[in-house]
């Protein structure tokens, strides 16, 4: 090593990551714990999903004394799943080898993508406490479970199995992985363990989660759905999402194949008529389509690529995104704590920045003691169902939330900021190609199109929520009136009788009379409430009718509704709204179109 400065050394992938663990989520003791948990749990969820298993996952975290690093504790993290289990050959690769993954770059919406995470956790365990990943795993066809310790051989980028043993395990199949690492336990806050678990609870209605964490009672959250989400197969790339270089290397992947076949099979949205047109517009003879791709010159490929980029193609299909759905979200959100009410919105998948994206939103109000707090709402962000817990400032989700006028939906909000109060706002973005802002993958790139799409979802959720709020307000009013009557009637009659020295008969008559009077008030309130509900129902069904298939109209309508509900707030905002005049026309438009269609 003495001369190393003058030598060029080639380090293995494993060595590279071992030196740069901070890049993959091990930048602080607190983050190390979260990342380790996250990698293990994401894998468990992915594996179950892949094999159509309803996941039942147990998370156990314990403090085991002081850590070796300064200001750390020794922390044990164990994640046990009922997934498919692993074979003896797979174990060292999965836990000890970098870039060994079954999901690499497949254009699917799975949680893990590259095969870095869990091996990094093993490396961290080796580095900080000289242990590796303790694994117990069993596949369905195995009599006994495999129990072992996996460590990483950094030089060779290989996993090494130690303490191998076959043991009895009281489950049919599954994997238990345990790490002992130096770290710090951060339970609360956006970057805390609980936020991660809550996020997973919300987005995985089919998950049963048991957890045992220090200082908390063991908790079991049962599944509210028996449907294992099916990750849709990936689709061939859409030519408009490609760069020239990608297009050229894509050509080589298919070997000796005819140009027309390559274009047809290798891409989405290119079929025979389009292909004929591409060749013709590029100025080539039709026979070019029959040549093999490998025989084409770079010049020809470039020309073809340019032509394709100029063409109008159907947008990419949205089949490749995975949806949670409003029904499942509605059930799932109630697992986040004592919730007064909530609203969920599942947008149809759309094409955003040329990639299929689906946005789903859930807003819930937590039951609180005392009045509404002025603290900002809790935001839960998700990308492909993985909770994002850091670097939120410039995230598309935060931008979208702050850009909505929540005051129109009866939430408190300072101008341009997040709304405040005991609410959770969860936004999930699913796409096989999520564009992140940086390598740590915690911030979704805030493109105008994406922010607008998230905004539309949030506004719809806000609208639904404010109806809840209004209805609840009415109901509270009614309830307090009823309580009022019950509370004060006897006192009133009592006092009057005492002051006038009235006898029993008078008292009885007065009591009845008073109940009659106040009961009449009460009936009126009930009637009012019923009328309000009928109106609301009518409004909702009308709204459903007008939310037709066209995304833009849908947006327009919501803009309109927002303007309407913003009206009372206009006093605060100086600029007069000129748009309001135009808005009714915008609202009528979809309905009018519909009639014509009929």
């Amino acid at each position: 090593m003495t001369n190393s400065s003058s030598q060029i050394t080639k380090s293995s992938t494993a060595e590279y990551f071992a030196k740069n663990l901070q890049q993959v989520g091990f930048s602080s003791p607190a983050k190390a714990v979260l990342t380790t948990l996250k990698e293990a749990m994401d894998n468990a969820l992915d594996a179950c999903e892949e094999f159509g298993i309803l996941p039942e996952i147990t998370v156990i975290i314990e403090k085991k004394g002081k850590g070796h690093l300064r200001h750390t504790d020794r922390i044990m993290i164990r994640v046990v799943d009922n997934g498919p289990g692993l074979t003896l050959q797979q174990v060292p690769m999965v836990f000890g080898e970098y870039l060994a993954s079954s999901k690499f770059g497949r254009g699917r919406c799975s949680r893990g993508q590259q095969g870095i995470g869990i091996s990094a956790a093993t490396t961290w365990a080796v580095q900080t406490s000289a242990t590796g990943a303790r694994v117990i795993t069993k596949q369905k066809n195995m009599k006994k479970a495999l129990s072992c310790m996996v460590i990483t051989d950094l030089k060779k980028n290989q996993g090494i199995i130690k303490e191998k043993e076959m043991t009895n395990w009281d489950r049919e199949h599954g994997t238990s992985v345990e790490f002992l690492i130096d770290g710090r336990l951060q339970m609360n806050g956006e970057g805390g363990i609980l936020a991660y678990l809550r996020g997973n609870i919300l987005l995985n209605p089919h998950l049963t989660l048991k957890y045992q964490l220090p200082d908390l009672a063991p908790t079991t959250i049962s599944r509210v759905s028996d449907i294992v989400p099916v990750i849709p197969p990936s689709l061939p790339p859409h030519p408009h999402t490609m760069k020239l270089g990608e297009f050229m290397s894509h050509a080589r992947l298919f070997g000796r194949i005819k140009l027309s076949d390559w274009l047809e099979r290798g891409f989405s949205r290119l079929s025979r008529p389009e292909i004929t047109a591409i060749v013709k517009t590029s100025g080539y003879k039709a026979s070019l389509a029959e040549q093999t791709v490998t025989s084409l010159t770079a010049e020809q490929l470039k020309k073809l690529f340019a032509t394709i980029q100029e063409m109008d193609l159907r947008p990419p299909a949205t089949k490749s995104v995975i949806t949670i759905g409003e029904e499942a979200l509605s059930l799932s959100i109630q697992r986040l704590g004592q919730i007064d009410y909530f609203s969920v919105v599942s947008r149809r998948p759309i094409i955003c920045d040329l990639k299929p994206v689906q946005v789903e939103v859930a807003v819930a109000r937590l039951q609180t003691k005392g009045g509404d707090s002025d603290e900002a709402v809790q935001v839960l962000r998700f990308a492909n169902r993985v909770p994002l817990q850091f670097d939120r400032a410039s995230c598309a989700i935060i931008k979208a939330i702050s850009s909505v006028n929540w005051r129109a939906y009866n939430l408190k909000q300072s101008k341009g900021g997040l709304p405040s109060g005991p609410y959770i706002i969860a936004v999930s973005i699913v796409s096989p190609f999520i564009k992140f802002k940086n390598a740590s993958k915690e911030t979704i790139d805030a493109s105008d199109e994406l922010v607008e799409e998230i905004r539309a979802a949030l506004m719809k959720a806000g609208l639904k929520l404010s109806r809840h709020l209004k209805k609840e307000h009415k109901e509270r009013e009614l309830e307090s009136k009823l309580q009022h009557i019950e509370k004060f009637s006897p006192i009133l009659v009592d006092t009057l009788c005492r002051l006038t020295n009235a006898n029993k008969e008078r008292r009885l008559r007065a009591e009845n009379g008073l109940l009659k009077i106040l009961g009449r008030d009460n009936q009126e309130t009930v009637k009012e409430l019923q009328a309000a509900e009928v109106k609301l129902a009518a409004h909702l069904s009308k709204q459903k009718d007008s939310l037709v298939m066209f995304n833009d109209e849908d947006k327009q309508l919501m803009h309109h509704e927002e303007e309407l509900s913003e009206k009372p707030l206009d006093l605060e905002e100086a600029e007069p709204k000129k748009k309001t005049k135009k808005a009714p026309a915008a609202k009528k438009a979809p309905a009018a179109k519909k009639k014509k269609k009929k």
């Binding site: 009136k481 009022h484 009557i485 509370k487 004060f488 009637s489 006897p490 006192i491 009133l492 009659v493 009592d494 006092t495 009057l496 009788c497 005492r498 002051l499 006038t500 009235a502 008078r506 008559r509 007065a510 009845n512 009379g513 008073l514 009659k516 009077i517 106040l518 008030d521 009460n522 309130t525």
Partner: protein, 385 residues
């Protein structure tokens, strides 16, 4: 404690019970009872020059019993019961004490717990509401505010106070040394007698200046009564001055700052009562009081120090604004009878100047009696409004 209630008090008691009886009967019939009270506000104030104080017009506020008023009415009856008990046994309390009395009763009885008062503001409002529906004074229900002001000095005044038990006490103000006499509680229980002829009664806005005048010997040199109002006159001060007006035939002069606040809030209240106390102005205003100064002409005549109203000081600016309002809406200032005062208000609004009562001391810094001299000179020369 001696059982004692005045004739007025037994009238109030029986009318309160009659009211309760009416409420109960209406309830028995399943009818919605309505409580009605005089509307106490400027828009229901009438000023008749021959009467001299603000009286209630015909407007009334109605509170009918319904879901939203059932609590307020229950609370009022609860408070009424306490007050009537007090009247019955001769108990006396301040509003604050009544707040704690209610709290104690409510705490010990879970059945009436829902009536509980969150703070004294709520119990005070309840007491006021009871007085409004019974059209009586708080004092008549033995509830006394801790009234401030009214310190009175004289060498020629004897006050006879009738106590709740009927006994009387005689107070000769000339025998109190440097201590003033304080007219507390119920001025109506005080009978005044002059020892010899009294020339005038002087009510000063500043109690400090009243004290200075007396210390320098004004009451020794002149047969007079000096009263310190201490700002906006309390019920005690108002009732007391009214008593002086009724029982002694002496001219009464008020002397205070030359500004809109003094004219409108202090002087008008002393002379004609206030809109919020329409039902009690009869006994709590002294229409014969005259405004001795500071007058606008005094500024020139005595070359007094004075100030421009600071328009950037919100309270001073507001005071001018209120003066403009008063000229438009206050029946007292709209009456021809008070033209002289209106002239002063207009002068204040136009000139935007103000002058403090103590500025008379600037006339001759070496003469400690200068203030007294000017006052006497003004009274003698009829320099008042």
């Amino acid at each position: 404690m001696v059982k004692y209630s005045t004739r007025k008090q037994s009238e109030i008691t029986s009318s309160a019970i009659a009211l309760c009886d009416r409420l109960l009967s209406e309830l028995e019939k399943g009818r919605r009872p309505v409580l009605s009270a005089t509307k106490c506000s400027l828009d229901n104030s009438v000023y008749t020059p021959s009467i001299g104080y603000l009286t209630p017009g015909s407007k009334r506020v109605q509170s009918e019993l319904n879901v939203s008023s059932v609590k307020k009415i229950s609370r009022s009856l609860f408070m009424l019961e306490i007050l009537l008990r007090n009247v019955n046994v001769g108990g006396i309390n301040t509003k604050r004490e009544l707040y704690y009395i209610s709290k104690g009763l409510l705490k010990s009885n879970p059945l009436i717990k829902p009536l509980d008062f969150d703070d004294q503001v709520e119990s005070d409002a309840t007491i006021d509401f009871v007085c409004e529906i019974l059209e009586c004074y708080r004092e008549e229900l033995n509830c006394f505010a801790n009234d401030r002001g009214g310190q009175t000095y004289s060498q020629h005044l004897i006050v006879t106070e009738t106590m709740p038990n009927g006994e009387t006490a005689e107070i000769d103000l000339s025998r109190l040394g440097t201590s003033p006499f304080m007219p507390k509680n119920r001025p109506q229980n005080l009978t005044l007698k002059a020892k010899g002829k009294i020339d005038f009664c002087l009510v000063l806005e500043s109690e400090g200046t009243a004290n200075t005048l007396v210390a320098n010997g004004i009451t020794k040199r002149h047969p007079c009564i000096v009263v310190g109002a201490q700002g906006v006159p309390s019920n005690a001060v108002r009732g007391w001055v009214k008593r002086i007006q009724d029982q002694l035939t002496v001219p009464i002069y008020f002397f205070g700052d030359l500004d809109a606040y003094t004219l409108q809030n202090i002087y008008r209240t002393l002379k004609a009562g206030s809109a919020s106390s329409l039902i009690r102005n009869k006994d709590f205003s002294a229409p014969d009081v005259r405004f001795l100064g500071v007058l606008p002409e005094d500024i020139k005549k005595y070359d007094l120090f004075h100030y421009d109203v600071k328009m950037n000081d919100p309270s001073e600016a507001r005071s001018l604004k209120k003066a403009e309002d008063a000229l438009k809406n206050d029946p007292f200032f709209r009456s021809n009878r008070n033209k002289g005062l209106v002239k002063i208000l207009n002068w204040l609004i136009e000139s935007r100047k103000r002058c403090e009562q103590q500025s008379f001391f600037s006339v001759d810094g070496r003469d400690p009696l200068i203030f007294e001299k000017i006052i006497i000179e003004k009274i003698k020369s009829g320099s008042y409004v």
